[in-house]
Structures are given as structure tokens and as C-alpha cells.
């Protein structure tokens, strides 16, 4: 057993603390080349990660970087800096800790490169940027440990892939570097271990005591939840009661819009003025920081929040977590519940609040899964190659490189262990020349091979442009919102698409207040205060979660029951009503509903095949409908159903569901659909074909959309096997296609398709109409709409002369 150095031991003793067993184990195994700690939230995970560092630096530390700490959130880095200061100061250690994120000043960044602290706290993007400088070897010289916090969250995205490539680089610079990962409870620790290790070495896994089962229930209210909707307004009085009964409550929502609406209603009902705040990623930073500070100070009784509070920031004394809306994913639910009660080994307390009756079913299914400790997770495929292209460009920024060595370094990252040399060479060629079949402008290649065999940038000035585009996070195109007038207060951001639908006088919610749209000036949405009670709903999106496959299965099983004694009466009633006015999904059959709604024809396909497969089904069905002349306008998919709207009703579904023709469509679907273009756009940005920022000026999101769409169309036509098209296809197959499950569904169903023509929206379909992520189909519907509009405009302008003063009959939003 490794003892703590005296100074630290005295500090522990002075506080009457003892190390948790897993903290001791981390200290004992401090020399492991790769070590993964799995511990529940509140288990002193971060301190466990830092104890070996504090130990090693306790006596007269040499100058220079010793430990690099990487976290997914800037705020987390700042928080850890605060928390580390306590033991360092109180134990009298001579250790310098600094953070470095996008928010750090240029002067400080420069100084950090010349004179790095002992412990540097940063994010994957800032680390990638650091490795792109020529002086990286000097800055990282002597680095001993890398601690990756919340690695389970990074493991789910390209940020994790980029981070592991940067680690491979660091390992070359510092061969003795030890890797430590800190993770919340996950379904498959081995998968994260493989990601963390230097391939083909192994990672040691250390699992802390998971603690007692959480105390988790569904909130039962006197008022039943509505048939549909995501607001959970009905539960406001009950939620306020709970807030009163507890010290601090976190109220989680799945989307920002839902959080805004809930917060608004909470305040309308908050007669005694309990201090309640709101926190989500679209709010202005200053506003978020004020809420964070108030929370740390213990001034707030509740915070309405989204995923922006998901990660392990220490927000003080939370004793209740409320999840509003279906949890979608059991693993995330368990992690959120862990936010409550930071006393290790005391059960966390949580309440689920379903927003509507379908979510009651989902919540009950999720509760059963939590009790069975049945966590869900989807395995990730090999590392994406767009990230690899960016890494090659980063390497070129740092100085001339040897392709063999770079390749060897890359395949030491677990996700890229299977990368072939040919695949690597294709990425290198893409970075150098664009990698086109037509070799038109080789004289302007971006990187070129010198006579000594090393590769370097043709134009050294391009390093600056490459650095400005480092990162894998895809922002949605957003516009800033501020109060009108000189020095108007910044409020936050809304999606550009949402802003485009606003006309002067429209009201929406942001930061918990209702504002009135005044106009757009220099890419900023200007608003004024409005006293309205009911706003036009803010549709700007937060992260959209998919219900996991396991959870979907549990739900289908519940649908098949004869009755539902375990569900509240109102929800059982709702399912009975669906059975009465339409039908409930049955095993071995495919239920399809068709009805008019909202001026369009709606088609609902209850496939229960998971969100990705239902999304693909939406793409393929709309393509088939286009072929049949049914003028589809778009679709939206959830885990259990696909909703398609269009100008004409479907009367005979059988030809649409012919599996051979659907599969034939799979090849053709690449042509021009919005999902593929969105995927292409993200990859083109990551791989460096498109630049987000030119000369410090951010391109407006709209320009970026247009040019990436044109490039996609051009490549599809002239160079369909281009690397980026391959990447786009891979990404889509991995993320959005899942055609196997459609095939499985078709085999299960054969010709047992039940099309029900109904006069109106059905209970089970209602939630689909509120689902974000609607995908437009640009086809004949556009031409027909334009024709309608022209007719209408001509009629209207004819009448306008007689009926003055005419109000504007149409408008072009900004």
C-alpha cells in the first residue's frame, strides 16, 4: 500500500477524512501506463485522479508540466482549478495549477507555452491546438501523467477520437507518459479501456463500489399528464412542492425549449418567490455564470437545466434530481440521478416526471431497467477518417513530418488500430491535393513532400487558418439575441432557422422571459420586453437524445399487454383509447395510420425499429412516395415511429414497403437528401475542406450551408467515390442508416401491413408532431407550393388595388 506524503496525510487528518478505497487503489497503481477508474458521481473521482500527481509533486517539484488534465467542458476545468486549490494551499504544497481553454487570454496562453504550470487543465480542442505549435515538444517535455475526466462522455463522440490522436502525439514526445481515465458508471468499461490504452497495450480497470441503489420513483400527480406535448405543465404544483421539501433541486429537461417553457410556468406559479434559476447552453455566458455562482453559494433552491449541467461539476448540496420528460436512455438517467446527494454511499434521490402519456410508458420501462441495473449502450465503430484528416493537418502545422512515423503513431490510438496504410494514404492525399480523380490544380497542393521525404505545408501561412478550424464540435447556426437599444443586454442564442420564421411582433421565450421580436441587425436578433402571457414557442434545439434500443424493446413489450395495471389509470386509459379509435402495435404486424392534419396529409408508421432505422425508413419511404407522385414534404423519426407529411394521402402502402425496392433505393438515396448533406457538411468541416473561420471572421452559417451543398452535389456527380463521400456514407451507415433492422422488420411483418385511414390525429401519433429534427424533402412539393404561391400572389395583387389598404399578403423573413 502506498502511503500519502506527510503533508497530504496531515491535511486529510486535519479534516477528519479517510481516503476512499478506490482513491487508495489509484495511489497504489499510480505507475500503471493506463488506468481507468469507474466510480459513481460523488465518489471523489477527480481527487482520486489527482492524488498521485499531488503525491509526486509534494516535495520541491521541478519546474515544467507534470500532469495534463482534459475535460469535456471548459466550466469543468475552471471548477477543478478551484477545487484543487484547497488541498494545495491547505497542505502547503508548492504546485502551480492553471487552466487553458478557449476563454484564456492570449497573453496568458503565450506565457503558458513558454513557462508551463505543473498541472494544466484543458479541453480536447485546446490540447489539439497546443500540439499544432512548433514548440510543442518543448512545452510537453517531462510530462508524466494525463488525466481524462468524464471519459465516458468523450468516448461517445469524435471529440474522444481527436483526443486519443493527440495523446498518441504526446506519447511520442513523452514515451513514459501514463494515462488515467475517470468515468461514470457505464455498461461496457472494456470499450472505454480499449479507447484509452496505447494500442496494443491494455488498460487496468478499477471499479469503485457503485454505492446503494438510487431512490427513484415516478412523480404521481393529481392531474393526469396530457395526451401529448413536452411541457409537463400539469406537474408544476407537484414539482414546486418537492422544491419546497428539499434543499436544492436540479430539474433536468431533454431540450432547451422545454426547459424554457417549464421555467416560465414555474415562475408564474411561484407565488412565494422561491429562488429558482435556469441554465442551458443557449443562454448568454454571463447569465450562465451568474446562475452557477448563485448555485455554488447555495442561494438557489432549484435550477431548471439541460445537458449543460450533466457533467460532473460540483454544484453544492443537491438533494433531489427531477427528470422532466422521458429519460430516453437508462445510462444517462443513472448518471443524472448521481448528481443528487454527493455524500458517498448514501442513496441518490430522484423523481421522473413524464410529460405526456406515452412518456409514462417510457418512464415505467426505464424504472424497471434501472432496478434491473440494465444499462444500455451502442458499440462504436472504427475511428472516423475526417478526424484523421484534421490530425494530419495539425501535424503539418507543427512542422515537417514523416508519413511512416505519423501512421505508426495513429494506429497506436485504439479507435484507429485497424486503419490500413492505404486508408491513411488516402487521407494524406486528401490533405495534400484534395484527392480528386481529376488532378487539376496540383501546383497549389496544401501540403507537399520535400526531397528528403518529409511532408510540409506549401504555404506556411495556412497554419494559421488550419489552427482556427481545429475541433470536431459542429455548432448549429445560431444568431445572438439581445435587447434593443444602445448597449442592449445579451440574452443568448437562437437557431438561424428559428429566427428566419419570426416577424416583427412575434414573441418567444429566452432565459425565462418573454420577448418581442423587433428585427435583425448585423446578424443579431433584436428584441424588446413583452408583457404577453403566452409566447410563440421557442423551437431552438438542444441535444436530441435517442431512446435506446433496450428501452424501445421494453416499451413494445408493454404495448402488447392485455391491460396495464402497473401504469397510472390515465395512461392505461390512453392506451385503451388508442386501441379503441385506432389500434396498438402488434407483434408480427406493421401498423400504419393515415389522416389529414395541419393542412397536410400525415402518414405514421409504427415500426419500433429504433430511431436510426426509422430515420432511414423515412428517407426511403419518402423517396418511394416521390416516385409514386405522392409529393412528400418531409418526415421525422422517433424510436418507435416515422411520421411523413405531404400533399397527398397514401391509400395503398404495399408497393411502398416492397423491401427489394426499398433496398434498391438505398443506393439512390444518397442523391440529394438533407440528412446526407448535413452529414457531409460536418465531415467536410472536420476534414478541413470547408473552413468555419476565415481571417478571424466567422462565416455566416447560411453561406456555409450553401457551399457545402453545392460541393456535395458536384462530388456526387463527378467524383462519387471521393474520400469525403466515402466518409459521409460510412457516417450515415453507422449513425443514420441501420438498414439491417428495416430488413428484420420487413421479414417479421411480410405482407401483414395494417393501413388505417382515420379522420384525425390519434393518441399514439400526437407526440410525433412535437418531435424536433424534421427532415425536409425537396421534390415536387416545392414546385407545387411555388405554383400555388404564384397563383395566390397574382390573385392577391389583383384584389389589392380594390381593397386598399391591403395588409401584406406575404412576407420574407430575415
Amino acid at each position: 500500500m502506498t502511503d500519502l506524503p506527510q503533508k497530504l496525510q496531515r491535511w486529510f487528518d486535519a479534516r477528519g477524512w479517510q481516503m476512499h478505497p478506490h482513491q487508495q487503489a489509484m495511489l497504489d497503481r499510480a505507475s500503471a501506463p493506463a488506468l481507468l477508474l469507474i466510480a459513481p458521481t460523488g465518489g471523489g473521482k477527480t481527487l482520486a485522479g489527482f492524488l498521485p500527481t499531488l503525491s509526486e509533486l509534494s516535495e520541491a517539484p521541478a519546474p515544467g508540466l507534470h500532469t495534463l488534465y482534459v475535460s469535456p467542458l471548459k466550466a469543468l476545468a475552471a471548477d477543478i482549478k478551484r477545487n484543487l486549490r484547497t488541498p494545495i494551499e491547505e497542505a502547503g504544497l508548492n504546485i502551480r495549477v492553471e487552466d487553458r481553454t478557449g476563454d484564456t487570454t492570449a497573453t496568458q496562453k503565450k506565457r503558458q507555452r513558454a513557462d508551463p504550470p505543473h498541472i494544466l487543465l484543458t479541453t480536447p480542442e485546446s490540447l489539439a491546438l497546443l500540439t499544432s505549435y512548433e514548440d510543442a515538444p518543448r512545452m510537453f517535455a517531462g510530462l508524466k501523467r494525463v488525466v481524462i475526466d468524464e471519459i465516458h462522455s468523450l468516448a461517445e463522440s469524435k471529440r474522444g477520437d481527436q483526443l486519443m490522436l493527440a495523446l498518441a502525439r504526446l506519447q511520442t514526445l513523452c514515451p513514459d507518459l501514463r494515462r488515467v481515465g475517470l468515468s461514470a458508471t457505464v455498461d461496457d468499461p472494456e470499450a472505454i479501456a480499449r479507447l484509452l490504452a496505447r494500442h496494443p497495450d491494455r488498460t487496468e480497470i478499477l471499479e469503485a463500489d457503485p454505492g446503494p441503489d438510487p431512490d427513484i420513483e415516478m412523480l404521481v400527480t393529481d392531474t393526469p399528464p396530457p395526451w401529448s406535448g413536452g411541457g409537463a405543465k400539469y406537474a408544476i404544483p407537484a414539482v414546486l412542492d418537492e422544491v419546497r421539501k428539499h434543499k436544492t433541486t436540479l430539474i433536468f429537461h431533454n431540450t432547451r425549449a422545454q426547459a424554457e417553457i417549464f421555467f416560465h410556468h414555474l415562475w408564474l406559479a411561484n407565488d412565494e418567490g422561491l429562488p429558482i434559476g435556469i441554465h442551458h447552453g443557449s443562454l448568454d455566458r454571463g447569465q450562465r455564470e451568474r446562475v452557477e455562482a448563485a448555485m455554488v453559494a447555495g442561494d438557489l433552491r432549484a435550477i431548471v437545466c439541460t445537458g449543460s449541467l450533466d457533467l460532473g461539476i460540483d454544484w453544492g448540496d443537491v438533494d433531489l434530481v427531477i427528470q422532466v420528460g422521458a429519460p430516453k436512455n437508462v445510462k444517462r438517467l443513472v448518471q443524472r440521478i448521481g448528481r443528487a446527494n454527493h455524500r458517498y454511499n448514501a442513496p441518490s434521490k430522484a423523481l421522473l416526471v413524464p410529460a405526456n402519456r406515452f412518456e409514462v410508458v417510457e418512464c415505467v420501462a426505464a424504472l424497471n431497467a434501472v432496478r434491473a441495473r440494465d444499462l444500455d449502450g451502442d458499440p462504436r465503430g472504427p475511428g472516423p477518417r475526417d478526424v484523421l484528416c484534421q490530425h494530419i493537418l495539425i501535424a503539418a502545422c507543427a512542422g515537417p513530418f514523416d508519413a511512416d512515423m505519423l501512421y505508426a503513431e495513429m494506429i497506436s490510438a485504439g479507435a484507429y488500430a485497424g486503419l490500413t496504410r492505404a486508408e491513411f494514404d488516402a487521407c494524406l492525399d486528401f490533405c495534400a491535393t484534395g484527392g480528386y480523380a481529376l488532378r487539376a490544380y496540383d501546383q497549389w497542393r496544401r501540403i507537399l513532400q520535400r526531397e528528403d521525404g518529409l511532408w510540409q505545408l506549401r504555404d506556411p501561412r495556412s497554419a494559421q487558418r488550419i489552427r482556427m478550424n481545429i475541433g470536431t464540435i459542429q455548432d448549429t447556426d445560431t444568431l445572438k439575441v439581445r435587447m434593443r437599444g444602445r448597449g442592449g443586454k445579451p440574452l443568448g442564442e437562437v437557431e438561424e432557422g428559428f429566427a428566419a420564421t419570426l416577424t416583427k411582433g412575434d414573441t418567444f421565450l429566452i432565459g425565462g422571459q418573454i420577448v418581442r421580436y423587433e428585427g435583425l441587425r448585423e446578424m443579431t436578433v433584436e428584441v424588446s420586453r413583452d408583457a404577453a402571457q403566452k409566447p410563440k414557442i421557442a423551437t431552438f434545439m438542444g441535444t436530441k437524445f435517442a431512446t435506446s434500443t433496450q428501452l424501445s424493446h421494453r416499451i413494445v413489450e408493454m404495448c402488447q399487454q392485455a391491460d396495464w395495471p402497473e401504469l397510472p389509470e390515465h395512461t392505461a386509459d390512453w392506451l385503451r383509447l388508442q386501441r379503441e379509435v385506432s389500434r396498438l402495435p402488434q407483434p408480427g404486424r406493421l401498423l400504419i395510420e393515415s389522416f389529414p392534419h395541419d393542412g397536410r396529409e400525415q402518414l405514421v408508421v409504427y415500426g419500433f425499429a429504433g430511431r436510426n432505422a426509422m430515420q432511414t425508413l423515412g428517407l426511403l419511404l419518402t423517396k418511394r412516395m416521390e416516385e409514386e407522385g405522392l409529393a412528400p414534404m418531409g418526415f421525422v423519426a422517433t424510436d418507435y415511429a416515422t411520421l411523413i407529411w405531404g400533399l397527398d394521402a397514401v391509400t395503398n402502402p404495399t408497393p411502398l414497403f416492397d423491401i427489394d425496392r426499398l433496398e434498391a433505393g438505398l443506393d439512390g438515396w444518397l442523391a440529394g437528401n438533407a440528412v446526407m448533406k448535413r452529414t457531409f457538411r460536418a465531415s467536410a468541416h472536420i476534414a478541413g475542406l470547408l473552413e468555419r473561420q476565415v481571417g478571424g471572421q466567422r462565416k455566416s452559417g447560411k453561406q456555409a450551408t450553401m457551399s457545402s451543398d453545392i460541393l456535395y452535389d458536384t462530388l456526387l456527380k463527378y467524383d462519387p467515390d471521393h474520400l469525403l463521400m466515402q466518409i459521409t456514407r460510412e457516417e450515415a451507415m453507422r449513425g443514420l442508416v441501420d438498414f439491417d433492422r428495416i430488413r428484420e422488420m420487413a421479414a417479421r411483418v411480410e405482407d401483414r401491413i395494417d393501413l388505417l385511414r382515420l379522420s384525425r390525429i390519434t393518441p399514439l401519433s400526437a407526440p410525433l408532431f412535437l418531435e424536433p429534427g424534421r427532415v425536409p424533402i425537396k421534390g415536387t412539393a416545392d414546385e407545387r407550393l411555388l405554383e400555388e404561391e404564384v397563383t395566390r400572389l397574382l390573385d392577391a395583387s389583383g384584389l389589392a388595388g380594390i381593397d386598399a389598404p391591403a395588409k401584406p399578403v406575404w412576407r420574407v423573413p430575415w
Partner: protein, 229 residues
């Protein structure tokens, strides 16, 4: 063929869905802002190499429109090349395709702000050209009088039943006609931008490109946005 006929200064003209303009009486085909070689210029400045297929795509469209209208005279309204010197860097195949087109009929290159000077690929190069009641030039002037120009790459944006549709478009009033950009990699300036809203008369129309060109009142800026209040 997808065309929309209209009258301008007493002449009968046709807008093609591709963004070209046809003048049947004189057998003239007009296109604007081809921006050939744009991806080459962008690569030369140290950015990523964009797919070098823009010239093929643009020339392909032009060949199709020429085949459909059999013009005796083609007028390119300027910015035909993305920079004056990029002409020399176009691949041989594309240079010869351009020379073939220009050699087979009367061909006028109007100089644009991107491509002053002679093209050297056949045809004549001029600052502007008058034909009957119409004057062809690159940038619209304050005193038009039957002027046909390009330069602004106008595009219109409409919100229809919750769907945003954005299309390159012709802009038309009694005095002037502005053509959309014909090139494959060209962006656009929205008709509701102050520049275009100020340039065109209040009763201007837009003809939207697409599978079937349509004519509508020009979508323009709300008054308060234009005056900046």
C-alpha cells in the same frame, strides 16, 4: 424546355430555368458571372482544394442551353473568369471546350470586376455592348435605360407553408434587368438586402430559377430594416 417569357423595353425575352436569358428575335443567349476557375483561385490561397469540377459543370450547363436555343450570338456579362490570370491555369480540356464554343458563333466577353482584359479564348472582349434598345454591361448603372447586367448574383428567399425556399433569380423593373449568377460555385445576394432593395424600383419582379421558372413580386427588405431604424 423550361422558359418564362416576358417583355422588357418592348422586346420579347425568355428566362431559362438555368439562369440564362434568351432573346429569340436576335438569336442571342446571355449568361452572367460564370466564375470559371473559382476553385483554383481558392486553392492557390492556401486553403483546401475544392472539387475542381465547377468549370465542367458550368460549361456543361452552357452547352445544354446553347443546344436548346441555337443562338447566333452568346454574350457573357462579365466575371466569366474568377480572376484575370486564372484563365491560364484552367486545364487544357476546359480551355479547348471554351474555345470551341466561342469559335462556333459570335461570342462577346463583357469585362467584369474579376476579369478585366481580353479572354484570349476566342470571341471579342468589350466593356459593354448595345444591341437595339438594350445595353449589356457587367454592373448596373444609376441611369439604366434598358440595361441588362449581372454582378450581384441575386437570389430570392421565400417562406411557404413553413418551408424556406431559396433560389437564384432574375430581377426586373421597367428600366433594368439583372441576371443571376450562372456559375456552379457562386454564392448569392438576397433580394431583401439593402443593396438590391435600393437598386430596384418598388414594383420590381423576380423570376426564380429552377425546374420551372416563376415570376413573383421581388421579395425585399421591410421598410424599417432598409432605413436602419
Amino acid at each position: 424546355m423550361n422558359r418564362l417569357s416576358f417583355d422588357f423595353r418592348g422586346e420579347h425575352l425568355e428566362a431559362l430555368g438555368s439562369g440564362a436569358l434568351h432573346w429569340p428575335a436576335r438569336s442571342v443567349l446571355v449568361v452572367s458571372d460564370l466564375h470559371l476557375g473559382k476553385c483554383a483561385r481558392l486553392s492557390a490561397t492556401g486553403g483546401a482544394a475544392l472539387p475542381p469540377y465547377d468549370a465542367r459543370e458550368t460549361l456543361g450547363r452552357l452547352e445544354r442551353d446553347i443546344a436548346a436555343t441555337s443562338p447566333a450570338h452568346v454574350i457573357c456579362l462579365g466575371d466569366s473568369f474568377d480572376t484575370a490570370d486564372i484563365r491560364a491555369h484552367l486545364p487544357m480540356e476546359e480551355r479547348s471546350r471554351i474555345a470551341d464554343l466561342a469559335g462556333a458563333r459570335r461570342w462577346t466577353w463583357i469585362e467584369g470586376n474579376h476579369d478585366p482584359g481580353t479572354a484570349g479564348l476566342g470571341g471579342e472582349t468589350r466593356a459593354d455592348l448595345g444591341l437595339g434598345p438594350l445595353t449589356f454591361r457587367h454592373i448596373a448603372r444609376p441611369d439604366p435605360g434598358g440595361e441588362i447586367s449581372g454582378h450581384y448574383h441575386p437570389k430570392a428567399r421565400l417562406a411557404l407553408r413553413g418551408r424556406m425556399i431559396s433560389r437564384p433569380c432574375f430581377l426586373l423593373d421597367a428600366e433594368r434587368l439583372i441576371l443571376p449568377a450562372y456559375g456552379a460555385y457562386t454564392g448569392g445576394l438576397r433580394t431583401d438586402s439593402p443593396t438590391l432593395s435600393d437598386l430596384m424600383a418598388p414594383d420590381a419582379h423576380a423570376i426564380l430559377c429552377g425546374p420551372k421558372p416563376v415570376r413573383i413580386p421581388m421579395p425585399r427588405a421591410a421598410v424599417q430594416a432598409r432605413t436602419g431604424t
